[in-house]
């Protein structure tokens, strides 16, 4: 069980400067909106989701991860024409789940990050599908291969992004 946290060092919570807490989500939202305009199929990538997962698995605090996910999700809803709360609910669930898993898993391992991001991307799709299709009665495209491709793409981008974000944190023991 290489991926499980085995020492106090591995489960030590990480903190970030306050500016990083504010600027990184905003930057993720802005880049998501801007790059989707210029790069074809960039909308497969969900930068706000990656930020939510990263904060959750590094903080390992379900309450703060839930709140951060909800705020980022509602902000993402603000850029769409959908009702506020669709991404808010899904990212709150993902944040809570990621923080809960992060306590038990070595999140410093790139393989673990890859698998976690892949799984949470699929989980968000399931939550969105449940919300939009069954709760709101809206149309939602569900295509298995497409969702797997999306999850793989997010996992690969996530590994690189998480490594970059690691440079901004400070470790607390």
């Amino acid at each position: 069980m290489v991926l499980l946290a085995s020492s106090r060092h591995e489960v030590g919570a990480k903190s970030f400067p306050v500016l990083v807490y504010i600027l990184v989500p905003l930057l993720a939202l802005g880049l998501q909106s801007l790059l989707s305009l210029h790069l074809n199929r960039f909308d497969l990538i969900d930068l706000p989701l990656l930020i939510t997962i990263y904060y959750a698995i590094t903080q390992r605090e379900p309450v703060s991860a839930t709140l951060v996910g909800a705020v980022i999700g509602i902000a993402q809803d603000g850029l769409t024409h959908n009702a506020l709360g669709i991404f808010g609910i899904s990212k709150a669930v993902i944040g809570y789940s990621a923080a809960s898993v992060g306590v038990r898993v070595d999140t410093e391992n790139h393989g673990a990050r890859l698998l976690l991001t892949f799984g949470f991307t699929l989980a968000q799709t399931v939550v969105l599908w449940l919300l939009q299709r069954h709760m709101l009665g809206q149309q939602y495209a569900w295509h298995g291969v497409h969702e797997v491709i999306r999850a793989v793409a997010n996992a690969l981008v996530g590994v690189v992004l998480f490594a970059l974000l690691d440079q901004t944190r400070r470790t607390e023991y």
Partner: protein, 439 residues
């Protein structure tokens, strides 16, 4: 109790956050028109998010645009002379085309007026830069850098020179959301150009626009143009939407959906036009353009057809000059040109009406006597010598009892041709008509 909250604190927070958002969702979904622009707290939250996210986007967009513009300007200068020549030639060709289309347009307006249609002309547009998207596949929304301060309101059509893009949805102070025609919740009234089949265009779940719930029709072919029908009261009629890509049968039912390839490249939009004002009257600028186009088209035509201004052609100054002594205000009568091969219908070949006799046939001899027999003319085969005999001569009466003169012969005749019986024996016997049916 305290231990319960501390023990399940994480789960309780999660449930509280989820319940609060579900209640918020329920309130938003219960609106009478879910597609209408947001109001109240939802609008405030959207305004905050857009207000925070868009300024960096606008800055990045402007920077990239400046760098790209500087480079493209340099590239453009290389080919500018060749392009200038090509554009001038194309401009001449377009003027000629516009001249011919202008008359069709006027005729169309007259017919539409007769039929009671109301054409919408675009009076005013606002150019805007696309600065972002929603960033998700579930929402085909664009962000533009013009808002209520620039005169934009919700439900204004957004177009490019290639075709329609969508309509404005939420309008903020400096930015606006544009709902693309490829979104599931959008809707635009469209019509197929050739088959004249009407329908509603909206996006499918993959962001592809299609005309939904159309009756199957074999005439719908790939490549047929799709135009706005004007039936949605948002898009002016006649704007390009796209072309038919393929017909998709619905899984259930007998109707089909028609997949449309958008005329505007929705994935590569940089600048759009927001139609802020339309009207039923043709704008004065457009009328001026039409009249200018007609004038310029005639000039271009004169340049391209030198035979119309042949310097060696004989002048018609003598014919055009009015006769001396006439009043200057009275125009001389227009004389038709001399016919090369005159016939019965040539004006100068017809004898004056005073020389014509009812029932008399015009012969070649008469025409030749008038001096107009300049060319041989085809003659119709005559039934006999009597056919060429003038009807004023009496016909030879066959042997047998003399028939009674018909009633028409009892009519009074001019004195110089048929003297009255009271004057004695007539010098010329009255014409007789052979009896019908033989002896």
């Amino acid at each position: 109790m305290e231990s319960f909250f501390s023990r399940y604190r994480n789960a309780l927070v999660l449930i509280t956050v989820l319940v609060a958002q579900v209640i918020g969702l329920a309130v938003q979904v219960r609106r009478p028109d879910p597609n209408a622009p947001d109001k109240g707290g939802v609008r405030v939250i959207r305004s905050w998010v857009v207000g925070i996210v868009t300024p960096p986007e606008m800055l990045l967009h402007a920077t990239g645009r400046g760098i790209r513009g500087a480079w493209m300007n340099y590239i453009d200068l290389i080919h500018v002379r060749k392009q200038d020549k090509e554009l001038k030639e194309e401009l001449d060709r377009l003027r000629l085309e516009e001249d011919s289309l202008a008359e069709d347009a006027r005729q169309g307006q007259r017919l539409q007026a007769l039929l009671g249609f109301r054409e919408k002309y675009v009076y005013r547009t606002i150019a805007a830069q696309v600065i972002g998207t929603s960033g998700t596949e579930q929402s085909q929304v664009l962000l533009i850098d013009k808002g209520s301060q620039d005169g934009i309101k919700p439900d204004m059509p957004v177009i490019t020179p290639d075709g329609i893009v969508g309509k404005t949805r939420d309008v903020f102070r400096h930015t606006s959301q544009v709902l693309e025609i490829s979104d599931v919740t959008s809707g635009a009234g469209v019509i197929l150009e050739k088959t004249r089949i009407r329908g509603v265009l909206r996006g499918d779940t993959w962001g592809q626009p299609e005309i939904v719930n159309v009756s199957p029709d074999e005439r719908i072919q790939r490549g047929e143009a799709v135009l706005t029908s004007g039936g949605d009261a948002i898009y002016p009629r006649g704007l390009a939407v796209g072309t038919v890509e393929r017909v998709i049968p619905q899984p259930e039912g007998t109707l089909v959906n028609v997949r449309v390839r958008p005329a505007a490249n929705l994935s590569r939009l940089e600048e759009v036009l927001v139609i802020s004002s339309t009207g039923a009257e043709m704008p004065s600028e457009m009328q001026q353009d039409l009249s200018d186009a007609e004038q310029k088209a005639s000039d271009v035509l004169a340049e391209k057809l030198p035979s119309r201004a042949d310097p060696n052609a004989p002048t018609d100054e003598q014919q055009d000059k009015p006769p001396a002594g006439n009043d200057a205000d009275v125009l001389p009568p227009v004389k038709p040109p001399q016919a090369l091969h005159p016939d019965h219908y040539t004006p100068s070949d017809t004898p004056p009406a005073t020389d014509l006799v009812p029932g008399q046939r015009i012969t070649n001899a008469q025409s030749a006597a008038d001096g107009n027999e300049s060319a041989p003319r085809p003659t119709r085969p005559q039934p006999g010598p009597a056919a060429n005999t003038p009807t004023t001569k009496p016909a030879v009466t066959p042997a047998g009892p003399k028939p009674k003169p018909p009633a028409t012969q009892a009519a009074p005749k001019p004195a110089d041709q048929s003297p009255s019986p009271a004057n004695g024996t007539p010098s010329t016997p009255p014409p007789t008509i052979p009896p019908q049916g033989g002896a």
